[in-house]
Subunit: 248 residues, 2 copies
């Protein structure tokens, strides 16, 4: 699997790659110092389960590097991905004891963790943390609702295009490559993980990716490396209106 970075954990918050996007983004120097004393790093290998749904959670934290999925499973094994956790995303819910979802690392991953109790304590005393967490939670809620439209009303082809668009957009944001040039990225997900995200079977995912490729909407080198020659075209295929609804 992808093993992009065997990053050593940053020793200091000042060096942290997610410093300005994570739950600590608004903290002042003194607040950061307090957090610094609370935090510890944990590494997970690709494929490793971070938390099982229903388990007691003794920590919350942020994804520093790598990618994880948030999934829900029914007794008969049907599973639905309900979130994709990227660097800076927050894991866990302050004020809740039991995990509501499975969290699985899909690449090697490093998390910046805080024991739950002290973090909750600090959150009560530090509006900057609670404010940022609210903002992040509202963003996640918007993303979840956007995904409800995808799951409830889009065709298989539109679903695949929507997923590609989301990943492409994220990469465009990170790499600042401008949206007019061809966008190039690696799919972080297996076909099976995509099917869990999109509410499809992996066979349908494979077929629709082949179809989009045949129609020139995307270009593949290998199974995972994707080029999008025309982002507008991809958005049309996704059924989104042309501006894509991105907000600051």
């Amino acid at each position: 699997m992808l093993n992009e970075q065997t990053t050593a954990a940053p020793r200091d918050c000042g060096d942290c790659p997610i410093r300005h996007r994570a739950v600590c983004a608004r903290c002042e120097a003194d607040e950061l110092k307090r957090l610094d004393e609370l935090k510890y790093y944990r590494s997970f290998e690709a494929g490793q389960t971070v938390i099982w749904s229903g388990d007691h959670m003794e920590f919350v934290g942020s994804v520093v590097t790598g990618i994880a999925t948030l999934t829900q499973t029914m007794e008969d094994g049907r599973t639905q991905m309900v979130g994709l956790l990227l660097p800076s995303d927050f894991v866990g819910r302050p004020g809740r004891d039991a995990a509501a979802y499975n969290v699985v690392a899909i690449t090697d991953m490093v998390m910046c963790c805080f024991r739950k109790k002290p973090f909750e304590q600090m959150m009560n005393e530090t509006p900057h943390i609670a404010q940022r967490l609210l903002e992040m939670t509202l963003d996640e809620l918007d993303a979840a609702r956007e995904w409800m439209l995808v799951l409830g009303r889009k065709t298989a082809r539109e679903k695949i295009a929507s997923l590609m668009a989301i990943i492409a957009r994220r990469d465009a944001t990170l790499n600042l490559a401008g949206i007019d040039k061809p966008i190039v990225f690696d799919l972080p997900l297996t076909r099976e993980a995509m099917s869990d995200y999109l509410g499809l079977t992996l066979e349908t995912v494979s077929r629709q990716i082949s179809a989009l490729k045949k129609d020139g909407v995307i270009h593949l080198q290998g199974k995972r490396h994707v080029t999008v020659p025309d982002f507008e075209r991809l958005l049309e295929e996704a059924g989104d209106d042309s501006d894509g609804g991105m907000l600051a």
Copy 2:
């Protein structure tokens, strides 16, 4: 349509039916007093659109009485409900200018509104409001994710049973009638609204309701009045595990 309460707006926060569940739930007397000066009531008729997606929003607020839906629409008219707004639910997003969804009153409805700017101002100065809003947003995020599983992985029959279970549970919570007795409630939604919620056609909704009725899972008087003789049975039909995952 349902016209349950032609409630006069409560003149004072002390009399407010949603005082202890809404965004103001944690406010102290002095904080409440400040909010009181900011607030104004607006009434909407059944069927009236409260906000159009994309519109500038000059207010945020709480549903006091009545029910509204939050929907997303594609250009070709496909629509997906992404939330059901019940009394005490919050409408609008502090820090965002344009509405992201359509909000439509489906019964007569009264909202307690605040002009957005002053409310944001007050939120910054009043941790109790921000804390409660965070809590409510986290709950909504959980609800949205539960719904992603319904939309992505459940069959039509399971979807209907899931919807009934959600409404039944809400009524059980409000009416405190105990979960062992038969549960009785009125569907607040038309078949079409249900189909928009569940990602189905209204014909399929109708057929599956008939099927659940024939199989004795639910009982109907008229089109809207539902009796659930055995809630456990309903949960099985919904594909949920028996405990239903309710948390405080």
